[in-house]
Symmetry: C2
Subunit: 669 residues, 2 copies
């Protein structure tokens, strides 16, 4: 770290990279005061801010490793003091002193015009964040997420649910710059990172953060490795998950048995049955909803306990579902209410949240007793039942006006909630001694998931081809969360949300399947309206297609296994942006719809309908086309890509080349 003073200002460097430039005209820090107006409707937030004051901190004084900023020259009490501590090449800038009435801060980092930035959690519209600003607030992702589409407009006007390019279940105040540093702001407050400007990034936080942390790296691989040194890493996904697809089916023991038998008879490799309705169901206008009182429903699933054992003997696990809310007519709610485990309104009443025609209490994870109790619910009701895992759904809905046991304003706990929810699940498994055997997948996120979330899924895509909410949107989601240390990404095969005229087609399902092969996990979902949407089990051709695709996934197990070892040791994601391995190629920095699956496989999913050919850019290397065995060099290529043969290449020099060749030989054009 080095601070260079010149022209009544200073420049801050870390490993010769300029992180901050301060002059009297273009300040590094602005502070102020704002009054927000926020309204939540079923997890969708309307946010308006009235900034009453925003003052540049023009004057500064450096003493030892402290920088004290002042509003004006004679200002006797410092407006803000930073303490800069470098340790093992990691620079932490702590905000150690601050005037009282400040609740907004804008931190400007130095930027180059050509610089690109990535991250900010799981971003589903744009991987390169430059040119836009990104509000960071966990919420429903939105239906449509593109104000120019009719679906988004319908979702907005009917349900306030259209979302926008930045709405995400998993925001995080962390990014990686092509200047080769990572930056993380230690805060759970509402934030808005603005990468619109040519010569600076402006990080807005609605609180004084604890610190802002930087670390440089020689390569992007090293940056993710170093960031996960800081943020934490995860164990491998259970071995059994690599033995086939997890079928998302429901309807009760008989029903799911029938699906399983059909699948196995048809040659589909099955690793698990995910029965989200293990606890029973509710019917609402959105579709079938689950019964949010997390106990086995023996009426819907008679003999589930024995069924689980029987399947386990066949190498197939049963998975369930849970989320951090308890429905207000259930036994868990009654118990939690009595014990004071639920978040309240200011008047002490339980804060029931509207989830769409039913209401739930919020388990107060800031209350250690409540946290432990809910962990026990998971242990007893899910793990002890024998489930191999579950969807750990939701986490984004903490209302900003609820009261919590720890006394911290809900505005500050809202973004912290997903990681708390992850931790509750993680500890339940850990304390049960089931790490590496049982796992859960989440959509909500925040900083901390790197340590506590065994797997991420991309949330509720629409069952369509739209860039911002369909199949394609899964790709930037995987890449952005991946480089920030979430190695295991996957999505609902076929998408989830069928609303406003969107109905899943066979083609969409098949293309989604083909992409899922080259991710950490294959899992289907029937969607929110199963009857109206295409299901694989209704169609022989799709069953065959799925069988083939699961076979490829399973055949790749040795490779995937090794990738997961890399995730454990280095935090590297399975799905990687091309620049992670080809950083000298300037063209790859804006590719967000193709990726490397590990170092050796390049995947360019088809995300449009009616496609027989697909344009693929290959970075300079020797590549083999998976389905023909043909050699390719770097450059732009148009590839035959009929259903069943997605554009996939492997490196000729890969140590797994023989494996890939063998897999491919079984599945030639």
């Amino acid at each position: 770290m080095k601070i260079v003073e010149k022209n009544k200002g200073f420049e801050l460097y870390l490993q010769k990279k300029c992180l901050m430039k301060h002059t009297i005209d273009k300040c590094a820090i602005y502070v102020g005061y704002g009054e927000e107006r926020m309204a939540m409707y079923r997890g969708n937030f309307k946010v308006e801010d009235y900034v009453i004051e925003r003052t540049p901190l023009k004057y500064y004084h450096i003493h030892n490793n402290h920088i004290t900023f002042r509003r004006y020259e004679g200002d006797s009490c410092g407006a803000l003091t930073l303490s800069l501590i470098e340790k093992d090449n990691r620079l932490s800038i702590y905000f150690i002193e601050c005037e009282a009435p400040i609740n907004r801060i804008w931190i400007r980092l130095h930027a180059d015009k050509e610089e690109k930035v990535y991250g900010c959690g799981e971003q589903m519209s744009y991987f390169n964040l430059r040119g836009r600003h990104f509000p960071l607030w966990t919420s429903e992702p939105g239906v449509g997420r593109d104000k120019s589409t009719y679906v988004t407009w319908l979702a907005d006007t009917r349900d306030k649910a259209g979302g926008d390019y930045y709405t995400t279940n998993y925001p995080e105040p962390t990014f990686i710059s092509t200047k080769k540093y990572w930056c993380h702001v230690e805060t759970t407050a509402y934030a808005d990172f603005n990468f619109q400007y040519d010569d600076f990034h402006e990080l807005q936080v609605w609180d004084i953060p604890k610190s802002i942390i930087f670390e440089t790296g020689k390569t992007y691989l090293e940056l993710t490795e170093k960031f996960t040194d800081y943020a934490g890493r995860l164990p491998k996904l259970p071995n059994w998950t690599r033995d086939g697809v997890i079928l998302g089916v429901q309807g009760g023991t008989d029903q799911v048995s029938t699906y399983l038998d059909q699948a196995l008879e048809s040659g589909i490799k099955v690793s698990g049955l995910w029965c989200q309705d293990w606890e029973g169901i509710n019917i609402t206008s959105f579709g079938k909803r689950l019964r949010w009182n997390w106990e086995w429903d023996p009426k819907r699933y008679p003999g589930l306990d024995k069924f689980i054992i029987t399947l386990k003997e066949k190498g197939i696990r049963v998975m369930g579902y849970i989320n951090p809310y308890v429905v207000n007519d259930g036994g868990l709610y009654a118990y939690a209410k009595e014990k004071g485990y639920l978040a309240t309104r200011p008047n002490g009443d339980i804060y029931d949240v509207d989830f769409g025609e039913f209401y739930c209490g919020i388990v107060d994870f800031t209350y250690p007793d409540a946290f432990e109790w809910y962990k026990d619910v998971i242990k007893k009701n899910l793990i002890d039942l024998g489930l191999g895992g579950w969807m750990a759904d939701f986490g984004e809905y903490l209302p900003i006006d609820c009261c919590l046991k720890n006394g911290v304003p809900a505005m500050l706990m809202h973004n912290a909630w997903p990681a708390l929810w992850a931790k509750c699940n993680y500890e339940a498994i850990e304390e049960s001694g089931k790490i590496g055997e049982v796992f859960y997948f989440m959509r909500a996120g925040g900083h901390g998931l790197q340590r506590y979330c065994t797997a991420l899924w991309a949330g509720d895509q629409s069952v369509d081809w739209s860039l911002h909410d369909g199949l394609a949107s899964v790709l930037p989601a995987a890449l952005s969360s991946g480089i920030l240390g979430n190695p295991y990404h996957h999505s609902d095969i076929g998408g989830y949300t069928s609303l406003h005229g969107n109905i899943r087609t066979k083609e969409l399902f098949q293309r989604w399947t083909e992409m899922a092969v080259f991710t950490s996990l294959m899992r289907t979902h029937e969607g929110n309206r199963p009857e109206q949407n295409f299901q694989y089990y209704d169609d022989d051709e799709t069953i065959k297609h799925l069988a083939k695709m699961t076979a490829i996934h399973v055949a790749l197990k040795p490779y995937i296994d090794d990738l997961m070892d890399e995730a454990v040791t280095k935090g590297l994601p399975l799905q990687r942006p091309l620049f992670m391995h080809y950083e000298r190629d300037k063209k790859v920095y804006d590719i967000q719809y193709a990726y490397l699956f590990g170092k050796d496989i390049l995947v360019a999913p088809v995300y449009e309908p009616n496609i027989t050919e697909w344009s693929v850019y290959l970075p300079e290397d020797d590549w083999i086309h998976f389905w023909t065995g043909s050699d390719y060099k770097g450059g732009d290529h148009v590839i035959d890509a009929p259903i069943g043969f997605p554009p996939v290449f492997y490196r000729k020099k890969s140590q797994y080349a023989q494996l890939f060749k063998m897999v491919a030989n079984h599945n030639r054009f």
Copy 2:
């Protein structure tokens, strides 16, 4: 005026009304610096502001009639000095000194929670402005103007043209408060008046204004009178305009003659023929557009000069059309280009503006020679031809990046343009000695119209029943502009914009006609797509209906004549909010879809389809229902309101009661 100091702050009073409260925590003034991003597409603006600094001016010092504000206590140079001058009970606060880098100011006025405010130019969605903020920037009004409607969404996504509740051709930084004062900010900069807060109004201006002016009044009538003492007043509309409807027809001499003969034979009272295509036409995808080179087109209108004389002898005037742009393939453009009369780009090229498939130069009204030249074009080509008047269209499109002769940034001239355009028209008539005989009607506006705009029309409503862009929207438009001293308001009978599936119906046309009777002027318009939309001349029933309605309008001439005298002497509008005459009635302050036509007629236009009955609120008085002669008292009433009998009442004690009774007797149920 009185300034009371207390608690390290002050309160400013005018006639015992508190206008401003300043404390160290809640400052009266904030200053700062912003960088706007603005994009214009065919008169629709996208505006974003990046506020870099916003500093409360906490400290102040009063010396004589000056208040000097400072950012901090030891600040030796004042950040801003105000000079307060009261003269004849009018308080002008001048901004006489200011630090250089300020380009944003936020002025907080004291407000009461119950207070309501009105004005801000011609507001088409909301008459009472409280609870919302109103950007003040002249622009296209928008198609739909309501983000929840499909039409607005289509207009937005196809043409960036949807608009919003505040988009208007005529914004003005002036309002009237129910605390009984008017307030005007002397500026033509972009402004945004925010009436969202309980205890203050915040007036944002993107420049240091020259002054802010206040005057109190005992009644609302007095407030408008006093404001027009300041802003100016207009002559009466020509006498001939009260002799019937101005028929908006086109197609050439033969065609319009045929329409006129048909109308006269059918008993329609006709005062004028408005032939907007007198200068020829262009065909675009929007519909037929005019040829923007302002010369009589003798091919389309053979013998127009003689036709004008012939009709004038029958008491019927011919009207034309002009706007402040010249098409780039016309003779006026070529001449103006040679003379340097057109606005330019920074590199000196002519700044051609896209008007939808054709491009035009902007006559530079800041260049006195250009202004005089264009005035001469009006005199020679329109007045000398014998036209009785014209639509003086547009004025909202001044691009913010064009260069003008006076050297003032276009950002500051944009909002000034409509009044300059009005002045050019006004002086052309005045210098021709035709005031009171020739007149024009405008849609664009700004402060200054009170002196220079002979008549206002409500712009381009959609041909539908929508509140924000249909028939109903004309009413708040008339009331808001009216109280600010624009007495003569009218609208296109039947509306104008037929896009995105909106097609004018017979019923809409008839309801609009019934409303127009009780305004300053009746004028029809064929709309942007005449062939696809309902036209009165295609339908016998509607011709009869129109004949009856014009007869009523003409029969009311003595009354309307007297109202116009009131406009001349006091600036009072013909269409008045109910509170102007019934200010003790708390219920009337939120009525924006009914009005008083002068003191003695109450009109509650039907603005929904398929109506036979209509709810009307009458303030406490003795009322006579126009069509039945029945007596009514104050209160809520449900009134029969079939087509042909709009809900209209007159005051029993009116000095015109006999006239009204006679008119009514001819038109009983």
